[in-house]
C-alpha cells in the first residue's frame, strides 16, 4: 500500500482509512445522507400511498411492498457489504473497515426483521397465513440468525482486535453460505411467487408502483449509510477514547 490511489481531483482515498480523518468526514456526510433519506422516503411514501393505483388482485394490501421489498433488498445487500469490508479489513489490516462491519450489522438485522415482519403482515390478507415455510421466507429468517450470530460473537469477545477479526471471518463464511442456504431452501420447498422485478425481463408492475418502490429503495440506502456512519463514529469514539486528536472535537471531549 505504498502507492496511494488518487482520485481525479488528487484526493488521497487512503487518507480516510484512518479513524481520525474519517471521523470528521463522516460527521459532515451524515446530515446529507439523512436529509436525502428523509426526502426520498416522503416522496416514495407519497407515490406509494397516493399515486400508485390499487392492485386489482391484492387490493390495498399490496402497498406494503413499498417497505417490504426495499427492506428485503437492503437486508441482503448489507450482509454482502459487511463481508466486503470484512475482507478489506483482513487483507489490508485496516481498523476502520472492521468498525464499518460492526456498524452495519445492527442496521442489516433491523432491515431483515422489517422484511420478515412486513412479509407476515402482507401474507395474512394475501395468503391467509402469517407464515409459510417457503424458500424466501426461510432464507430471510436464516439471514436474521446469521446477523444475530455475528453480533453475539462480537459482543462475546472483550478484546476489540480479536472481536473484529473473528467477526470478519464469520461474516466471510456466512456470505459464502448464503447462496448455498438460499438454493437448498429453495429446492426444499417453493410456494413463494416468482420475483416481480428482475433485471433481465420487463417489470410486471405499473410504472408508478415501480417508481414508488425505487424511491423507497433509495431512501433505505441513504438511511442505511447515514445510520452506519453515525454508528461508526460512536465506535471510533469508544475505541479511540483518550486519543490526542479527539481533543480537537468538542463533542468528543465530554
Amino acid at each position: 500500500m505504498n502507492q496511494p490511489i488518487l482520485l481525479a481531483g488528487g484526493i488521497n482515498l487512503f487518507k480516510y482509512a484512518a479513524p481520525q480523518t474519517f471521523y470528521p468526514l463522516a460527521g459532515r456526510l451524515i446530515p446529507w445522507f439523512s436529509w436525502t433519506a428523509a426526502i426520498f422516503c416522503v416522496a416514495g411514501l407519497y407515490v406509494g400511498f397516493f399515486v400508485a393505483p390499487t392492485d386489482h388482485q391484492q387490493g390495498e394490501a399490496y402497498r406494503i411492498i413499498f417497505i417490504h421489498v426495499p427492506a428485503a433488498w437492503m437486508s441482503m445487500l448489507i450482509y454482502v457489504a459487511m463481508a466486503f469490508w470484512a475482507g478489506v479489513g483482513l487483507i489490508f489490516n485496516t481498523r476502520l473497515s472492521h468498525m464499518m462491519v460492526s456498524a452495519l450489522a445492527p442496521t442489516g438485522a433491523m432491515f431483515t426483521f422489517v422484511a420478515l415482519w412486513t412479509g407476515a403482515l402482507w401474507g395474512k390478507p394475501t395468503w391467509g397465513t402469517w407464515w409459510v415455510w417457503d424458500a424466501r421466507l426461510t432464507s430471510e429468517l436464516i439471514l436474521l440468525f446469521l446477523y444475530f450470530g455475528f453480533m453475539a460473537l462480537q459482543a462475546g469477545i472483550d478484546d476489540a482486535r480479536r472481536a473484529d477479526r473473528a467477526g470478519a471471518i464469520l461474516a466471510l463464511v456466512g456470505v459464502i453460505n448464503i447462496p448455498i442456504i438460499y438454493f437448498s431452501v429453495k429446492w426444499w420447498n417453493t410456494l413463494h411467487q416468482g420475483a416481480s422485478v428482475s433485471i433481465t425481463s420487463a417489470p410486471t408492475m405499473a410504472a408508478t408502483m415501480l417508481t414508488g418502490m425505487l424511491l423507497m429503495t433509495l431512501a433505505a440506502w441513504m438511511y442505511a449509510i447515514a445510520a452506519a456512519l453515525h454508528r461508526v463514529r460512536s465506535i471510533i469514539l469508544e475505541r479511540e477514547h483518550g486519543a490526542e486528536w479527539l481533543k480537537h472535537h468538542p463533542e468528543a471531549a465530554k
Binding site: 440468525f145 453475539a152 460473537l153 462475546g156 480479536r162 473473528a166 471471518i169 463464511v173 431452501v185 429446492w187
Partner: protein, 222 residues
C-alpha cells in the same frame, strides 16, 4: 506430510481413547434425543416413519455441535495448540487431520448407529441405507463447519451457547439435503440428487474450511 497427518490423527484418537466417557456422552446424547421424539409426538407408526429422517438428522446436528466444544479447548488450555500454531508444518494440514480425527470419534459413531435408530422408527429397509449414506456424507461437513465456530469461540465466556448461535444457521443446508435425501427416496424420486449435492458440499467445505479454521485459530490464540 503423510507422517504428519498420521501422527496428528493417532494423537487425537489416543486422547479420545483415554477419555472414552467423553465420546460415549455424545453418542448417548444422540440416542436419547432421538428416543425422546416418539414420547413427545406419540407412537403412531406412520407419523414416526415420516419424521424419522428429520429427527435423526436434527439429533446428529445437535450431537455434533455438543462434541465440538472440546475440539480445541483442552489443547488451548495446556498449550498444545500454541505448539501446533508454531509448528513448521502447514496449519491447514494439521487442522484438516484434527477435523478428520474428530469426525472419526464423534461423527462416525452416529453414522454407524443410525440404522439401529431407524429400526426404532420403523424406517423401511430400502430407506435406512440412504439415511446412513446421507449421514456419512453430511457429518464431516458438520464437523468442518463447526470447527470454524469452535475456533472462533475458543476460550470465550458462554462459548457453548455462542457456538450454537454461530454454527446452527450454517448447518441448515446439510440438514435440508440430508433429511431430504430420505424423503425424496421415500417419495419415489430417488435420492441421487440430494446425495450428490451433499458430496459436492463436502468437497467444497473440505477444501476451504481448513483455511478458515486456521485463520480463526490464529486470531483466537493471539
Amino acid at each position: 506430510m503423510g507422517a504428519l497427518l498420521r501422527a496428528v490423527i493417532r494423537r487425537d484418537l489416543l486422547l479420545a481413547w483415554r477419555r472414552r466417557s467423553d465420546v460415549a456422552t455424545v453418542v448417548l446424547f444422540f440416542i436419547i434425543v432421538v428416543s425422546l421424539f416418539p414420547l413427545g409426538v406419540g407412537p403412531e407408526p406412520n407419523l414416526l416413519r415420516m419424521i424419522a429422517p428429520g429427527i435423526i438428522w436434527v439429533a446428529a446436528l445437535l450431537a455434533c455441535m455438543l462434541s465440538l466444544q472440546n475440539m480445541f479447548a483442552s489443547d488451548h488450555d495446556d498449550g498444545a495448540l500454541d505448539q501446533m500454531l508454531l509448528a513448521a508444518a502447514p496449519l491447514g494440514m494439521i487442522v484438516a487431520a484434527r477435523a478428520f480425527a474428530h469426525w472419526l470419534i464423534s461423527g462416525l459413531p452416529l453414522v454407524i448407529l443410525s440404522p439401529i435408530l431407524a429400526i426404532q422408527f420403523d424406517l423401511s429397509p430400502e430407506l435406512s441405507p440412504i439415511l446412513t449414506l446421507s449421514l456419512l456424507l453430511g457429518t464431516p461437513i458438520l464437523t468442518l463447519l463447526g470447527a470454524i465456530g469452535a475456533a472462533l469461540t475458543l476460550g470465550l465466556r458462554g462459548g457453548g451457547m455462542l457456538l450454537a448461535l454461530l454454527v446452527l444457521p450454517l448447518y441448515i443446508p446439510v440438514l435440508i439435503l440430508g433429511a431430504g435425501a430420505v424423503d425424496a427416496a421415500s417419495a419415489g424420486l430417488g435420492a441421487d440428487a440430494h446425495l450428490l449435492l451433499l458430496a459436492a458440499q463436502l468437497i467444497v467445505t473440505g477444501t476451504f474450511a481448513p483455511w478458515a479454521i486456521s485463520a480463526a485459530l490464529r486470531i483466537s490464540a493471539e
